[in-house]
């Protein structure tokens, strides 16, 4: 195995025959992140330069997400949200407030400003239209987005997660459950698909899941994508990666 960088291997017990890697191992990898989920009996070539493993499959992966991919996801999500919100003044006001709070959340978590991050996250709870209000969906997406670029583990992020974990009373029960799951690293399949596609650097992998996400609820999927994009953009230098599948 080549020079150490960083990686966290996740998933159920699974052994890579050729490398001796087990799920859960921290492994060394040259200039790239290794993510191993539990799927598929694939061997990996751990000395491939600039490569990483996605779902057990070796991919060409660099760190960092293509900004144009993020922009196109954001654009699609905004179009969907505007189409669903119609001309409703209240919905528009909710969207604007949600965007402002998401911006504040991104700024404060990226800077490690725990108190400001906690405040922004709390203000998002229960905000906006929908059975799972827009702010909650965005917060879920944000927590996932922070993990894509290797963030999601600092003090500010932990504060955000605690807010999400204790959302009951601030939002509908359905939404509070979803937030608690997100805080524990559990996300919907489509949103997780977008995140893993972005992480693996295979933007085309994310395409179908973006569409699937946008079809979730009225604006739930779109709000979650906007949160995800904000979270990815707010990603610090990677320190650790973890996606629970």
């Amino acid at each position: 195995m080549t020079a150490a960088s960083m990686a966290l291997v996740l998933g159920a017990g699974f052994e890579f025959a050729s490398s001796g890697l087990c799920v859960g191992d921290h492994v060394s990898f040259d200039g790239a992140v290794l993510l191993v989920a539990a799927d598929g009996p694939h061997s990996i070539a751990a000395d491939a330069p600039g490569a990483a493993c996605y779902d057990g499959l070796l991919c060409r992966v660099g760190l960092g997400v293509d900004p144009s991919t993020l922009s196109s996801i954001e654009g699609a999500a905004r179009i969907r949200r505007e189409a669903m919100c119609g001309r409703s003044a209240l919905n528009s006001a909710a969207s604007a407030k949600c965007d402002a709070l998401l911006g504040e959340l991104a700024r404060s978590t990226a800077r490690g400003e725990t108190s400001a991050a906690e405040q922004a996250a709390r203000a998002l709870l229960g905000l906006g239209p929908g059975l799972t209000p827009s702010g909650d969906d965005a917060l879920c997406g944000f927590m996932l987005g922070r993990r894509v670029n290797g963030g999601g583990d600092g003090l500010a992020d932990r504060a955000v997660k605690s807010v999400a974990f204790e959302a009951a009373g601030f939002t509908s029960d359905v939404s509070a459950v979803q937030l608690a799951l997100a805080a524990k690293g559990r996300f919907g399949e489509a949103l997780l698909g977008v995140a893993t596609g972005l992480h693996a650097g295979i933007s085309l992998l994310a395409r179908a899941d973006v569409v699937r996400c946008l079809d979730e609820g009225a604006t739930s999927g779109a709000d979650a994508l906007l949160g995800l994009v904000a979270g990815v953009r707010a990603g610090a230098q990677p320190t650790r990666l973890g996606l629970d599948t």
């Binding site: 598929g40 996605y54 006001a93 906006g128 239209p129 059975l131």
Partner: protein
């Protein structure tokens, strides 16, 4: 101006309903603003900010209650607005209208895999833009993939195939219309008996022809693997054909291999032929239009036509050559058809639903008769100027994109071909109308039943003008196909159609008729 609020408790509606409710109520006459939101603390603040609640106004509602707010010019309009809101909210969702819960179809590959954990292959048929995404997911889940979709970029194809190759998986396609895996027909495919011949095809109808003839001659197929139509291009480099070759070479049941394609780029051809020659399993290679001498090498036998490929494979499999053509009977039938032609009738018009059939016919006819104008021409200089108008000898692939935009493929929808048959019958220079008739899954349930009335009408129309047009066709299918080979052939034969056992055979009969009419001896 008045603002009214109403709280609805214990009612859960999805976000789509809630947002439609707000939009539709706001569109009512007299309504200035409307809101339908969960009564969370954040939303109550929002409503206060928007002037829909007074700053000091308390609301007896919690985050699980729905808060309806309307601002109207006239207080009387508020009642109508709330009535409309409640009507929308209490509408029974369509999906829940029935007593029984509908079974939810899997919406993702993972969901499908959860329902069928032993699945090992994913068939992807989505708009081209999304096909690679789904195929890569299948590969990540350790499954082979067949990508039926076309309009997938070359870059996506290369990426998918590289991932599949690295993972030791098979990526069939994109634009892979035909495969038979372990006896299961996928896409446009025929029901063929199991046997020991493995087929790898870059062409869907080419694979159908070879597998159907193998079945007709009593042999069988282990697997027929489609590579997709671009696999043997220089860019893609035959990744799938080479991987399929390795897979079938490793398959203990496969004793003979057949490779089918239009001619690849020379370097790709060389790579494929070198691999075929190095394999222990003998191969028959049909690169339609390629010089057989460039293909032949140890362990590799060249086939000029799809029929030859099937025949050689059957011979390698069973040790016996399949029964050849009844040449004398063909010659007599061709002579009789030629004798019935008027002096003006000189040309063949091939109207095809299978692109490779059209190409093969164009190759064979042009070798015998000179230029054959086509949208799938044997030589680039014979490309037809206007696909909608035949000229001289013409072969048209009606499955070409230009014909299928906005309508189903001609193997399913015969309207275009029926119209074109009628049109050709009006042309006093037409001697032969040459057709293919493709059976199997994916094809029309009764192709002959679609063609026969058109043929009868066209013949009557020509006869009214003192001409007798020869109709020549081949049926690509098996007795096991849903349509049944014998019944389809009988229907065409009863309509006076001369039938070839293969597309190549039919093309040769057509050429014989025209050559005989011109005074040349049929070859």
């Amino acid at each position: 101006m008045a603002v009214e609020k109403r709280v609805v408790s214990g009612l859960y509606r999805d976000s789509v309903t809630l947002m439609q409710c707000a939009s539709r109520v706001e569109a009512l006459p007299g309504v200035e603003k409307a809101g339908a939101m969960m009564a969370t603390p954040a939303n109550l603040d929002l409503a206060r900010d928007a002037g829909l609640l007074q700053a000091s106004e308390s609301v007896e509602a919690g985050p699980n209650d729905l808060l309806l707010l309307v601002q109207t010019i006239d207080a009387a309009d508020a009642d109508a607005a709330f009535q409309e809101a409640e009507r929308i909210l209490t509408e029974v969702p369509k999906a829940a209208a029935g007593d029984e819960r509908a079974e939810v179809a899997p919406r993702s590959i993972r969901m499908g895999l959860a329902a069928k954990p032993d699945a090992s292959l994913v068939l992807v048929s989505t708009p081209g833009e999304y096909a690679a995404s789904e195929a890569i997911k299948a590969l990540h889940l350790g499954m082979d993939a067949m990508v039926f979709s076309d309009n997938v970029s070359v870059a996506d194809e290369i990426e998918m195939k590289r991932l599949a190759h690295d993972a030791g998986l098979l990526l069939m396609g994109p634009d892979c219309g035909t495969a038979i895996i372990g006896g299961v027909p996928l896409g446009f495919a025929n029901v063929v008996r199991r046997g020991d011949i493995g087929v790898i095809g870059a062409s869907g109808t080419g694979t159908q022809q070879v597998t159907a003839l193998i079945d007709r001659w009593g042999a069988g197929v282990t697997h027929a693997i489609g590579t997709g139509s671009h696999d043997l291009s220089a860019d893609v480099g035959a990744v799938t054909m080479l991987d399929a070759l390795s897979a079938l070479e490793a398959d203990s049941e496969t004793k003979v291999l057949v490779l089918v394609s239009k001619p690849p780029s020379p370097e790709v051809a060389e790579r494929v032929l070198a691999a075929a020659s190095a394999a222990r399993t003998p191969s028959v290679v049909c690169f339609l239009g390629a010089d057989p001498a460039s293909i032949e090498r140890p362990g590799v036998t060249a086939a000029e036509t799809l029929e030859d490929a099937a025949a050689l494979a059957v011979e390698l499999s069973t040790g016996e050559a399949p029964p050849g053509a009844a040449d004398a009977a063909d010659a007599a039938a061709a002579k009789a058809a030629a004798d019935a032609l008027a002096p003006s009738q000189r040309f063949i018009r091939g109207l095809y639903s299978g692109g490779t059939f059209g190409y093969e016919a164009a190759l064979l006819l042009s070798a015998r008769l000179g230029a054959v104008h086509s949208n799938t021409p044997a030589r680039p200089e014979d490309a037809i100027a206007d696909v909608w108008k035949s000229v001289g000898h013409t072969v048209i692939d009606l499955g070409d994109d230009v014909f299928t935009r906005g309508r189903p493929h001609p193997m399913i929808d015969f309207r275009l071909r029926v119209d074109r048959i009628a049109e050709e019958a009006q042309d006093p220079e037409v001697a032969v109308v040459l057709l293919d008739c493709v059976l199997g899954y994916g094809a029309h349930e009764d192709p002959a039943g679609q063609l026969v009335p058109a043929i009868v009408a066209a013949r009557q129309s020509a006869e009214a003008d003192g001409r007798r047009i020869a109709f020549v066709a081949s049926v690509c299918g098996t007795e096991g196909d849903p349509q049944g080979l014998a019944g389809q052939e009988r229907a065409l034969r009863d309509a006076g159609v001369l039938l070839g056992r293969s597309n190549a055979h039919a093309a040769r009969i057509a050429a014989d008729i025209v050559a005989s009419h011109e005074g040349s001896e049929p070859q």
